[in-house]
Amino acid sequence: MNYALPWLISLLQGFFLLTAIIPVTARPRMLLLVFWGALTGMATTALLTFTSFIFFNTLVPAYVITINLGAALWLFFLAKRNTLILPFTKGTVDKLDLIGVHLLLVCTIPVVLHALLFPDGGWDAWSCWNLKARFLFLGAENWRGMLDPALWRSNTAYPLLLPLENVWYWSFGDQPNTMVTLATSCRITFLMAGLLFFGLKELGGKASALLAPLWLMSIMFFVKLASSQYSDLLVGVWFLSALLAFRLFKERGHTAYLLLALMSLGFMSFTKSEGLVLAVIALTAMGLDIILSADSRKAALNAWPHLAWAAGLAFSPTIYFQLCLAPDSHTFINGLVSATKPASIERLQAALMFLGIEVLSPKWNGFWLILAGGIILAGIKALRRGLWVVPAIIGLYLLSVVAVYTINTFFEIFWWLSTTLNRILFALLPALVFWLFSTLQADPKYKNRAE
């Protein structure tokens, strides 16, 4: 079966959606719109696929294909009303854009090669993410079996954005093809790299913005996790997308970008429980930034009905899943009240110690040391307008993560830390690189010499 069609529908849906939302005067560069659109389309097609389970209690491929095609067409007309400019028309792409795309394609080759060596992905791919996708695709009316308490080892309470994305592709065939899940992880990695590069370029970056995605994709450990078919990559992508959109809102004052930031957070909340925590923290920090800034506050207040609608729509799958589907977690013991497995200061110490050991591990290729050095050199500029939210969100998120490791005493702490902490950090990498580069390079006014 030809999987080019779902890819094309998804790309067009996302591209037209962004074109319809962002007025032509505030629109970003064409290739940023294409990469961002491709990612947005991945999420919207997955969410529209989810409606099949809500309305029909099963996967109806004909419905899924029709509604997605219909949405793409409807968005095309909306985009056309808002001045639709097609990609690769004259003057929309410069030489650096083309060099960037080709270089990013080359950098994705190791991810593809590694993915081909492990076509079924890593442990969580078959025990959680792709297992859920198989239940959705093969389970017919019994798709809710994936939430059965007997499957507690499969993280039954985790949401469904990644599995649904694969199910959207599988809807064009009759088998749960492994190559689809493999290609999904490679595609997300490539799109993340493009979003990072073109996002930085949009914020004033030059050729050196290319170093940002190249840096990430040169780390073998990043390659391994990116090709493992885990949802952590999606958390990273949507967090990056939310930060980029928020930064563009702060720079340009156009609420279309705030709307995009809210949408990104909504999508992120449907990726993983960690994504939901990160989304709530990011919403709070961004909201605080808007309240504290008179310009942003005025702009947000003027557009509040649109923003409320966008946020409501983007978060509705998560709210529905959490209220109507997600079972109680079988892997949670509240150590604060448990007499048999109480939380202890040793667990807190272990979590903090492990965090320190993890960032110094050679598998990260010195990433954390260079990042820390870069931020120290940037000094106070790293916290300027619109950027302070990044360390604030990440700091609060890491505090929440350490608190969960300490309080939830279900798992043996060293085993738990050794198998999960690196993925939590991995999901933060795109946002951290974006923070460092937009601090150092993207603003052309920033030319501090080392004295």
Binding site: W126, S208, S218, A378
Partner: protein, 138 residues
């Protein structure tokens, strides 16, 4: 100080070095992995359970009986890969109260002995020593 010695250029230089170092490491590791894969081709562990699929009818659950320790990573992997292969069937770990059962024991004799003790009707026997059986009366 020379004009090119800016803070950002210092950081970019370190990042450039890290990229070069990373590329060397990535090429090395991928080459080693590919050599390993040539010597030992990829096989998904759950495939040994695939033969059971066609014989389960409309059953929703399968009891998965084993004498292996699930806390051992290899055993946990075998179980989760079996679950993945057999989805949307739900494998109920060490719960014999289902009509259909998989007996995955370290020693086939132990599995056969248990099947006899429980008066199970043997449906399939895989070359890897798995027994697939029906529990009459349920």
């Amino acid at each position: 100080m020379p004009w090119w010695l800016t803070r950002q250029n210092i950081v970019f230089a370190f990042i450039g070095l890290a990229i070069l170092w990373g590329i060397v490491g990535t090429v090395r590791e991928l080459t080693a992995l590919q050599a390993k894969r040539r010597a030992q081709p990829y096989a998904f562990g759950g495939e040994i359970f695939a033969g059971i699929k066609g014989a389960t009818g409309s059953e929703k659950y399968l009891g998965y009986l084993t004498d292996r320790d699930i806390n051992n990573d290899k055993v946990a992997m075998r179980f989760t890969q079996a679950q993945f292969t057999l989805a949307p069937l739900i494998l109920d770990f060490n719960n014999p109260n289902h009509r259909l059962l998989i007996l995955d024991f370290q020693d086939l004799k132990q599995a056969v002995a248990l099947a006899e003790k429980m008066q199970l009707r043997l449906l399939k026997r895989s070359p890897q020593g798995l027994l697939f059986a029906e529990r009459p009366g349920l």
